[in-house]
């Protein structure tokens, strides 16, 4: 009798386990999970529901996704509204970080601390492992030790924009490729001598692009797009702390150099205002300017439009300044995915998280977001990627065409960026430039950490920041254009900045790292 009952019990137990297992699987695979998602829509590559990438990744993740394409210029307004009020909010929001208001929102419970649910993001965790990014992830943890969004991952930040010069002119005059800022100065002077009417150096979209790309070579990063968002503080990469960059000697050296360019008519006076892309193109194409800091994929458009014989633009590796050869700082982590708290109220919250994780971070899907679908957009020959004829023959270039037609390579949806893979979308020239940049070493430094403020400190920081940023902008422009003399007025400037609290601001930042 005893033996029999034991056997029955074991059988029953096994049956129960199998049954439970089956039930669990049943619950999980019950049909596609449905959710809504905000997408930041750029007018140059308008979102299409029919994009191959969109369709395929949703299929693989077994999800029905309602993309809400919101114009990029108003994206932050809409997101802020959704997170602040939690009404009419989507389930998932793309292209976000926990900078600015989001930090306060996260700490006050408006955003899901996704690190708490890391069992549901296996693909993301795997990617972080694969590219050794645990320490980077730690950088986005807030003061409570949690991270609140799934950032995009880049294995090696690449050099997608920089100093661009008229190569044909350099060759004509026998100039070697410039290595330092002084080299650049010589080239600009020569062009001005040959073309007195011109302003050799111009900038796209206003001084902020110039500043963010060139200041690091002088040891600072300031202004509206300065790294770290502090606008007047810079990061000391040796001491690992912030210092008052706006009143530093390094900045003085920087602004002196460019003020000299301005004075000698080498720098376009119009760049104080954000220049319209059309005006910039015109200056470059007609030879009114021959040097600029801009992005690589804009070269093609200008070259095609120019009517100058032998016109050739080339991008050069970052120039060396007093602090070394540095370019705009970039992080290995970029904007990513976050979940408003209201999504946790859904019974299928786990499924949503798992689906999103799969859709963007799995090997298969992240590849689709980058290079599309095998057999449709590319084929692999001998381990090398070969794009379809339609793509390679496109007039916009491979990268742009893939963005427009398939949704590949969009900042908003591509979460995994592998340098080597990205290079396949550009011409060899680009790869060569990036290789040269790699060779120089430490060109692209990391972005300074964001201090971990609670929202009371954030308010205080904000109130200090605005007058400081405004005053800096005015003085920077005044020094640049010569309205204020760097020799005579520098001390007044420093005094003024100190009187509105730049030292207090710096202390606040450093105390909360």
């Amino acid at each position: 009798m005893k033996k029999a009952s034991i056997i029955v019990l074991v059988l029953l137990g096994t049956a129960a386990m199998l049954f439970a297992q089956a039930a669990k699987e049943q619950a999980v695979s019950e049909g596609p999970v449905e959710f809504s998602m905000y997408y930041s829509d750029n007018a140059t590559l308008p979102f299409k529901d029919s994009w191959l990438t969109v369709q395929e990744t949703a299929k693989i993740a077994n999800a029905t996704v309602h993309y809400e394409a919101i114009p990029i210029a108003d994206y932050s307004t809409k997101v802020s509204l959704a997170l602040n009020t939690q009404t009419n909010a989507p389930d998932v929001i793309l292209y976000q970080t926990t900078a600015g208001e989001n930090q306060s929102l996260a700490l006050n419970g408006a955003i899901v601390p996704i690190s708490d649910y890391s069992e549901w993001t296996p693909n993301f965790n795997a990617m972080v492992e694969k590219y050794n990014m645990q320490s980077d992830i730690d950088k986005i943890r807030l003061s409570d030790g949690k991270y609140y969004y799934l950032p995009s991952l880049t294995d090696v930040p690449f050099y997608d924009g920089g100093i661009i010069l008229r190569q044909d002119y350099l060759e004509k005059k026998g100039f070697a490729a410039p290595k330092t800022y002084d080299d650049l100065y010589q080239i600009l002077k020569a062009y001005k001598a040959d073309n007195p009417e011109s302003y050799p150096l111009t900038i796209l979209a206003g001084p902020r692009v110039l500043y963010r790309m060139t200041m690091p070579a002088f040891g600072v990063s300031l202004g509206r797009n300065g790294s770290g968002g502090s606008k007047v503080l810079s990061w000391d990469y040796e001491k690992l702390e912030f210092f008052e960059g706006a009143i530093s000697e390094e900045f003085k050296a920087y602004i002196s150099f460019f003020a000299k360019l301005y004075k000698e008519g080498l720098l376009d006076p119009e760049m104080a205002d954000p220049i319209d892309g059309g005006i910039w193109s015109r200056k470059m194409a007609t030879g009114a300017s021959m040097a600029t800091w801009a992005y690589y994929d804009q070269i093609g458009g200008v070259t095609a439009a120019s009517e100058i014989k032998g016109f050739k633009l080339q991008m050069y590796p970052a120039l060396e300044g007093p602090a070394g050869a540095h370019h705009q700082q970039k992080n290995r982590l970029g904007s990513g995915i976050l979940f408003p708290t209201k999504t946790t109220k859904r019974s299928d919250f786990e499924q949503i998280v798992r689906a999103v994780d799969k859709m963007f971070f799995s090997e298969e899907c992240s590849k689709i977001w980058c290079i599309g679908v095998k057999g449709v957009t590319y084929t692999e020959e001998n381990g090398k990627i070969k794009y379809s004829d339609e793509i390679t023959n496109a007039s916009e270039g491979i990268y742009k065409y893939m963005q427009l037609a398939y949704g590949c390579g969009s900042d908003v949806t591509q979460m995994v960026w592998v340098n080597a893979r990205e290079m396949t979308k550009y011409d060899e020239n680009y790869a060569a430039i990036n290789a040269a940049v790699e060779a120089i070493g430490d060109v692209i430094q990391y972005i300074p950490p964001t201090p971990k403020f609670d929202d009371l400190q954030a308010e205080e920081a904000g109130m200090l920041l605005t007058p400081l940023a405004d005053k800096f902008e005015v003085w920077c422009d005044a020094f640049l254009t010569g309205k204020k003399s760097i020799d005579k007025d520098w001390d007044t400037y420093v005094k003024e900045m100190k009187s509105i609290g730049i030292e207090k601001f710096c202390t606040l930042y450093n105390a909360n790292l």
Partner: protein
């Protein structure tokens, strides 16, 4: 409640009593108080107002409670009405801020300049337009004159930048080639900020605003003109003595509204024209609020400033209205 307390009389001086016929009875309904009598007489008018009144309460007045945020600290994610009372903290903050007063000064200056230069233009334009004999020409000019209204601010500024560009702009070309002067960088020069702002505003809105005055002019009784002509008045005198006085109520209403709007200038345009170089004159209250309040998500600060501007605006509108009543006998209320 406002309104006259005296007995309301019908325009024809008679008082109406309502008679109801029920079967063969005539009921004379005795109305008790003057108020009830009034309501009964004008019930149709009151009925008309019910829906719009409800609209105002719902969509305009209920959200006003949000202004409470000016006295409480806003913490993102913890509710839209702030968490703790901080009294006048934010008011004190911007009162002490020299940047705020500079913005205040700039806003006032631009608005006053606007009123002095841009306000009369639509009136003059409407009157001139009315004088045109040729109907076709009149129609064409009218239609074309308000087309600039539709160009979005961004493009207006873009066009301006083109024309005023120191390198390729028409105006500077003219200066350099014809007058042999050095090119002026208009958009960046604080001196030119105000003129550019005013002129571009006038260009965009003159034709558009003139529509209101035109509508007013069409309502003028033509007999008045005939009478004036019989009296020997020439065209100009007719305008002075007939047209202008007839549209004076409209002009005053528009003026009062404009004065009330003294502190609320168009934000987008100034923001686009702002450069560090012209910031001394181009920073206005709305752009300051945008930078300090909204860009830093300090909604309490923004709300406090908004409340302050609202109070000032209300004071301005009441004063303007009172003055207008005294001078011309008409106002908004």
């Amino acid at each position: 409640m406002g309104g006259t307390a005296s007995q309301p009389i019908l325009a024809n001086g008679k008082q109406k009593m309502k008679f109801k016929e029920k079967g063969n009875e005539t009921l004379q309904i005795k109305l008790r108080s003057p108020l009830q009598r009034h309501l009964f007489r004008y019930w149709q008018l009151y009925l008309m107002m019910i829906l719009p009144f409800f609209y105002f309460i719902l969509f305009k007045y209920i959200p006003m409670f949000g202004n409470i945020l000016a006295f409480r600290r806003y913490r993102p994610g913890l509710g839209p009405f702030g968490t703790e009372w901080v009294g006048l903290r934010y008011f004190k903050l911007f009162f002490k801020d020299p940047a705020f007063w500079r913005a205040f000064r700039n806003t006032l200056t631009l608005s006053v300049l606007n009123i002095v230069f841009s306000f009369p233009l639509p009136i003059i334009f409407a009157i001139m337009l009315n004088e045109l004999r040729n109907k076709h020409f009149k129609k064409i000019v009218q239609t074309i004159s308000y087309m600039p209204r539709f160009i979005s601010t961004v493009v207006v500024i873009a066009i301006l930048s083109e024309i005023l560009s120191p390198s390729s702009g028409l105006l500077n070309r003219f200066l350099v080639d014809v007058m042999h002067k050095t090119p002026i960088y208009f958009m960046n020069d604080p001196q030119y900020f105000r003129p550019i702002y005013i002129f571009s505003g006038a260009w965009q809105f003159t034709g558009w605003t003139a529509i209101i005055y035109l509508a007013s002019i069409t309502g003028i009784n033509s007999e008045l003109y005939e009478a004036a002509e019989i009296d020997g008045a020439n065209r100009f005198q007719q305008i002075w003595n007939v047209t202008l006085p007839s549209i004076l109520p409209t002009i005053m209403v528009m003026l009062i509204l404009e004065v009330g709007r003294l502190l609320s200038l168009g934000f987008e345009k100034v923001l686009l024209m702002y450069t560090p170089a012209n910031s001394e004159v181009s920073d206005i209250i709305d752009t300051l609020v945008y930078r300090t309040g909204l860009a830093n998500q300090n909604y309490s600060y923004a709300t406090a400033i908004g409340l302050f501007s609202g109070i000032i605006g209300l004071i301005l509108v009441s004063s303007a209205n009172r003055i207008s009543r005294n001078l011309t006998g008409d106002g908004i209320y």
